[in-house]
Symmetry: C2
Subunit: 495 residues, 2 copies
């Protein structure tokens, strides 16, 4: 894989200088066009052997291009805010918005390769990490990102030469790698595991480019040209799209029996039972949230449901039990401008709770496979791929110890009509029924299909859906609280 990066490529000064003049102009033009279109971000990953010119090349790119539109990020030591959340969070928070370029040093690849070289992880864990990264990059590309992955290579002989030069030059001492490159074995292992990673993660939508790093002219020009050509091609495409996913429509229920229809909506609690059970479950939740084992976890609750199913009331019974400093409620409405400039899941990642904290989502990332699907706010391929992306997301949360509880509050059409009417009679402006509410009601069956598919595809062992029979508000509220408590207790026990 690295053979052709050890053959001593080089370019003479004259050729180089002539080529660079044109290249710079073209790069600036493309960068300007990228900003004007603001349709996609560019992500450049910088990896490879120490001393092969990674830092110098990035410095050069900043000189050639407009540095105001480039963010260089180096992920060395995580901050304590980052350590308190799943490891993916730090990458999400630094993603470049559409129209701009992010250059990532010390990215997801460096971390897994360093860990493998140093023996902190074995092949199995490395392959697992590779799998996660593949899904992540695939998602980024599906969302429009243009990804360049550069591997700067040096032969062992050239590395030795470079290390000697570097030692003498304090100007270049900022090249940082946790590995001890003076050991021959480090190089061998680095190249071996690097190859494994490259082999498995070079994909049409995000290929690796191996660059021989020995000759500065060759290296710089190669990287510049690859970026230019990739960028120009992407700018020309009317709409950036990864190859179409398997787009066969989901199979509609053949016997007209749906998951939701199978719920026993007559379940109810009388006032006394409610009072007692509510108090019990609230006290239990309050205790669990103060349990010291909570410090190793975080809690996320998702509330979805029919309009007027009582999400707000249920949420208030949950928060009523808690210290307001320990939870945060996030109502999901239309994305802001900054959120629209990022991949779909970005606006949820930004609210992932730190360890010990609890975040309640009033509506959630499931909007994509519910309202956006039914109302046609996104394309079919967008919502079809969302199931997989959501499962990946939830697995990342789970792996970090976050307990995720998802509720669908279900009522029947009759109950909904009754509640709409009640609301119309109440004077409070905040309960005004909007045209949207009536329109959603007309699409009752479409929503029921969407909910069925959603549950089938995203109710997993690590993050199961809880369907809540919500015709009776009291029953629903107690069930919500109890489910949260059981999930937390299970998590505490499993550790």
């Amino acid at each position: 894989m690295f053979e052709s990066a050890e053959i001593g490529h080089s370019i003479d000064k004259e050729t180089y200088e002539k080529a660079v003049l044109e290249l710079r102009e073209a790069l600036l033009d493309a960068q300007f066009e990228l900003k004007e279109q603001a349709r996609f971000p560019v992500i450049i990953l910088i990896n490879g052997v120490e001393g092969a010119g990674k830092g110098e090349t990035v410095k050069l790119l900043n000189e050639w291009m407009d540095p105001r539109l480039i963010h260089v990020e180096s992920f060395l030591l995580p901050t304590d805010e980052e350590l308190a959340r799943p490891p993916q969070w730090r990458f999400w928070r630094k993603l470049p918005p559409k129209g701009t370029t992010g250059i990532f040093f010390g990215n997801w690849y460096s971390q897994m390769i360093y860990a493998r070289v140093e023996g902190d992880i074995k092949d199995a864990r490395l392959d697992q990490a590779i799998g996660e990264v593949e899904s992540f990059e695939r998602m980024l590309c599906d969302e429009g990102a243009l990804i360049f992955k550069f591997w700067f290579h040096l032969s062992k002989k050239h590395l030795k030469e470079r290390l000697k030069t570097l030692e003498k030059d304090p100007q270049r001492s900022w090249q940082i790698s946790p590995l001890d490159w003076k050991q021959t074995e480090v190089y061998d292992r680095f190249v071996r595991f690097g190859e494994r990673v490259l082999r498995r993660t070079s994909r049409d939508y995000a290929p690796w480019y191996v660059i021989e790093g020995y000759d500065e002219n060759y290296r710089s020009l190669s990287v510049g040209r690859i970026i230019l050509e990739g960028l120009q091609a992407a700018l020309k495409v009317a709409e950036r799209r990864a190859p179409h996913p398997h787009a066969a429509p989901l199979v509609a229920s053949l016997d007209n029996r749906s998951l939701l229809a199978s719920l026993d909506l007559s379940r109810a609690l009388d006032k006394d039972e409610y009072k007692e059970q509510l108090a019990t479950e609230q006290a239990r939740l309050s205790g669990l949230m103060r349990d010291k084992r909570m410090r190793g976890h975080a809690l996320m609750a998702v509330f979805e449901g029919n309009d007027a199913a009582g999400k707000g009331g249920a949420i208030r019974r949950v928060t009523g039990a808690l210290d307001p400093r320990q939870y945060r409620t996030v109502p999901i409405a239309a994305p802001t401008e900054e959120e629209r400039a990022q991949p779909y899941l970005w606006r949820f990642w930004r609210h992932v709770p730190a360890r010990g904290q609890f975040t309640i989502f009033d509506r959630s990332w499931y909007g994509r496979v519910l309202v956006e699907r039914v109302e046609g706010f996104c394309s079919q391929s967008d919502w079809l791929r969302a199931y997989g992306e959501i499962n990946d997301f939830e697995e990342q949360l789970h792996n970090y110890g976050i307990v995720l509880v998802k509720f669908w509050l279900s009522i029947d059409q009759e109950t909904q009509m009754q509640r709409f009417k009640e609301r119309e009679e109440i004077a409070f402006k905040r309960y005004k029924i909007t045209d949207d509410d009536w329109r959603n009601r007309d699409k009752w069956d479409h929503y029921a299909d969407a909910v069925g598919d959603m549950v089938d595809r995203t109710s997993t062992e690590i993050a199961p859906w809880t369907l809540v029979e919500a015709n009776d508000k009291r029953y629903a509220r107690v069930k919500v609280l109890r489910t949260l408590n059981e999930a937390l207790e299970a998590a505490f026990k499993s550790k």
Copy 2:
């Protein structure tokens, strides 16, 4: 000041329950209206004696109101990301956007009072902190915020009772204060310094409300009513405005001699001088940025100037000297939606560099007193108060050790015309001259006045303006680099 909060206020259960019913409805309505208008944020500060019901009241507010529109923030221990920036940063990053409510525990008042009670600071420092907070709150109110400041009080006798109860009740053990309240002296000092702070910071635009905390009913109802009435009044006002500032127009220059006109724009460097000096200054900057004393500082550079004065080129000569991981360039364009929902300076605070880092602002917070003033994008009172707000901001940066360097790149009209024409001849789309550029040119004199006022009012010892004669690009670039270097060296020496 606390006398009437020790007289044993109380409300009987029946009166309370009746009143609360109405209060809750009215609060929810007002909160809904706040969200709909989305014109201003509400900031509620919670302070006072331990055990006086601070936590309980906030919990209650979350029950009474819609918790989805309330953010409760507790500023106990700063994170490492916060410690790496001026102390005000952590408050700025948590400000509630317009239409929502932020409840701040452990806020700026708690911190100064705790420090004074524990003897970490003396009165002089306390008064200094009070002065800073006054400007901060004044600015927030000028930007539209509605601030409630609650002081929960208990007499010494009642405090002792409460402490006994609290000890027995693990449910309430989350009340955290760094002070040892069992010592009588702590109470005395807390009340004494609290009074000093309250006296000096109770202002018409952000008054303190002292609440007797002993009787739960009385306390809850009082707080609820104060918030309701304040909120309703603010919602009614067509546009929230603090009392008008002194709005006399700035004095125009009487003798037609302006600061900018006094610059010697003929200054120039020939090619050889330039090459040599540029290399020298770049190497010097590169060395300074790697100096270990840099870890105790951060660098911020502001670039303002006439259109086509060469800001971009100067910035690139600066970044050309540096490791791209150490600097970030922030181009200032129109604010995003999330930025518009915050006070004016918020979008600059979010880019304040961490220790050891360097942020370059291509245009800056001075937009308010330049383009926004000249083009009428903000009201006169907005830009008139901006001078003071900016000086406060820069002082906060300076006090933390951030070196701030501000450049105005100045060219004459003839040079500008020449550069515009050159740009029009170049094919690159990115250099297209827009109508805006020509329009700004027509307002040359207005801009010159604005620049003069800006320099007069914001060129301070801690953050002086550097006027750069930029008719000759080479001269300008070297002067920029040299000024940065001198500022860094001066800062390193002064420590």
